[in-house]
């Protein structure tokens, strides 16, 4: 509920939300000018976890940057690595075997479901409900177990290589993933009844934290935030990459522009990701996972390359400028959460602090990815 802003000089106080605050899920700091419970002005302060990933991308050879991309977003690491390998493959002209692309899509979508599950739990915890987080983590555990079985790691996978993958998937993974799909569908129904239908939850989200499509465009918001504001934009459909054109899936779009719309987009996306995984397992072709001919040293020809992918949080772009050497000349990451977060300052003006933090939760912020 956005109330009237009653600014009286000298009657406001400054509240520092963060850098250590349970609602910011990391080290984001929001300087809020408060009038009682109402926010008069908010200012997000970044940089507490800046690690210079872009510079690291420029001062070392391409393969050495691979593990860095998983560190951007520890919840949806696969998607970011996917963007990186696609960008370098496009630059260096490396052909990727079809099987590798299918496995990439399956793992990326699994990771998307895991990321959304964690977001779901953390979001409900922001609103004060602790138990859904535990249920979400139980489901996420099965996904992480499946991914750990093939990649050897649970969060920072580093599974993709230029040209393919480092390991092929095994029967155990396929069996686990097949078992996981009906389980997840059942769980989604449970969440629907436990959380989505809950009157307290609905009252806290419906018509709270409106983000207009204009605001989305102004700040470059993408992903579920834009789709919750009625903008039908998904890189997987609009600028297809990898083998996504061969899959049949929908892009959920809601026009309510409120926090509930963003919540519903993500819940629907999980179902769509399950559909993609199902189709991917059915269509999975045989073949190698690495190309036969692959340059020993990756030296993309001189040029300017860009590749965008749809990660769990929005569209993630990599701009790669090559000067023909084994290091990139410029390695620019366009991270979705950074843009999504920028609109928070404007969107939360005049809101109450509880609603503002619900809005912040609905943006799905992962701070290491904002600061890079």
């Amino acid at each position: 509920m956005s109330g009237p802003i009653r600014i009286q000089p000298g009657e406001t106080f400054t509240l520092n939300v963060g850098p250590q605050h349970p609602a910011t899920h990391g080290v984001l700091r929001v300087k809020m000018e408060m009038d009682g419970e109402y926010i008069v002005k908010a200012e997000t302060v970044l940089g507490y976890i800046h690690r210079m990933h872009e510079l690291m991308g420029e001062n070392r050879p391409y393969p050495k940057v691979l593990p860095n991309l998983s560190r951007l977003d520890y919840l949806g690491a696969m998607g970011y690595t996917h963007g990186h390998v696609l960008a370098v493959e496009r630059a260096a002209g490396i052909e990727v075997p079809e099987r590798a692309e299918y496995i990439r899509v399956i793992t990326v979508e699994l990771n998307r479901v895991a990321s959304h599950l964690f977001w779901f739990g953390a979001f409900v915890m922001d609103l004060g409900g602790f138990t859904p987080l535990m249920y979400a983590l139980q489901d996420r555990e099965h996904i992480l177990d499946a991914l750990e079985g093939i990649t050897g790691s649970r969060l920072t996978y580093c599974y993709f290589r230029f040209g393919g993958l480092c390991n092929d998937i095994d029967d155990e993974f396929i069996a686990r993933t097949r078992a996981l799909i009906p389980r997840m569908r059942k769980s989604l129904k449970k969440y629907e009844a436990l959380v989505t239908g809950n009157i307290i939850f609905r009252k806290r989200l419906e018509e709270i934290g409106p983000i207009s499509p204009e605001m989305c465009r102004k700040y470059g918001a993408t992903g579920p935030v834009a789709r919750g504001s009625g903008i039908d934009f998904d890189i997987r459909k609009n600028e297809p990459y990898s083998v996504y054109p061969e899959f049949d899936f929908d892009v959920p779009v809601y026009h309510e522009c409120d926090s509930m719309a963003r919540y519903k987009v993500r819940m629907d996306e999980m179902e769509q990701s399950l559909r993609i995984i199902e189709q991917g397992l059915d269509k999975l072709p045989d073949g190698p996972i690495m190309p036969k001919r692959k340059p020993k040293l990756i030296k993309p020809p001189k040029g300017d390359y860009y590749q965008a992918v749809e990660t769990a949080r929005g569209s993630f772009g990599i701009r790669l400028v090559s000067d023909g050497t084994k290091n990139a000349y410029r390695f620019k990451l366009r991270s979705p959460t950074y843009s999504n977060m920028s609109l928070f300052d404007e969107a939360c003006e005049g809101m109450m602090i509880m609603d503002a933090l619900a809005l912040m939760g609905s943006l799905d912020l992962v701070i290491p990815e904002i600061d890079r």
Binding site: P63, G152, C158
Partner: protein, 156 residues
């Protein structure tokens, strides 16, 4: 007026549905593993820190080509070697040849990013991932692994 009461009714109903779900979960078995008392076996491909593999004689298979050292993004592997002369019988003649022998394999696990590129780059199958995950210490030095020493300790 009707909307007012239907709001209350459906609101209450949704609350009772939620209570029903948590009540059912109350009687389901526990899913967690009581960690220090019970542990999970790590999967086959689990990527821990790296370990050297020995050959039949118990020496490391490593030929000190330095690929792992060069591919490592975090530059956390430091190799040391010395040249050793040894005699081989080639076509009935005894010749002396020189060979590099591993004298030092230091892994600075504090900076390792567990990407696994060192194991992949090794053309001699001399490296593997350890399944060790109970790594906790308050001292930084505990994570400077001397892999050669670990190999010897494993064999003895």
């Amino acid at each position: 007026m009707g909307a007012y009461f239907s709001d209350i009714f459906f609101g209450l109903k949704s609350l009772f549905i939620g209570l029903g779900i948590t009540f059912k979960e109350f009687f389901k078995p526990v899913v967690t593993v009581p960690y220090p008392y019970k542990t999970i076996k790590m999967c086959k491909r689990y990527r821990g820190h790296i370990e050297l593999i020995e050959d039949e004689e118990g020496n490391p298979k490593c030929v000190v080509c330095g690929m792992c050292e060069r591919t490592c993004p975090s530059e956390c592997i430091i190799l040391g070697s010395k040249a050793v002369e040894f005699e081989v019988e080639v076509k009935g003649e005894i010749k002396t040849k020189k060979k590099k022998v591993l004298t030092k394999y230091d892994l600075d696990f504090t900076t390792c990013s567990l990407c696994g590129q060192c194991v992949e780059s090794c053309n001699f199958g001399a490296l593997t991932f350890s399944k060790d995950y109970n790594l906790a210490s308050s001292r930084k030095e505990d994570f400077h692994f001397d892999l050669l020493k670990r190999l010897k300790e494993r064999n003895s």
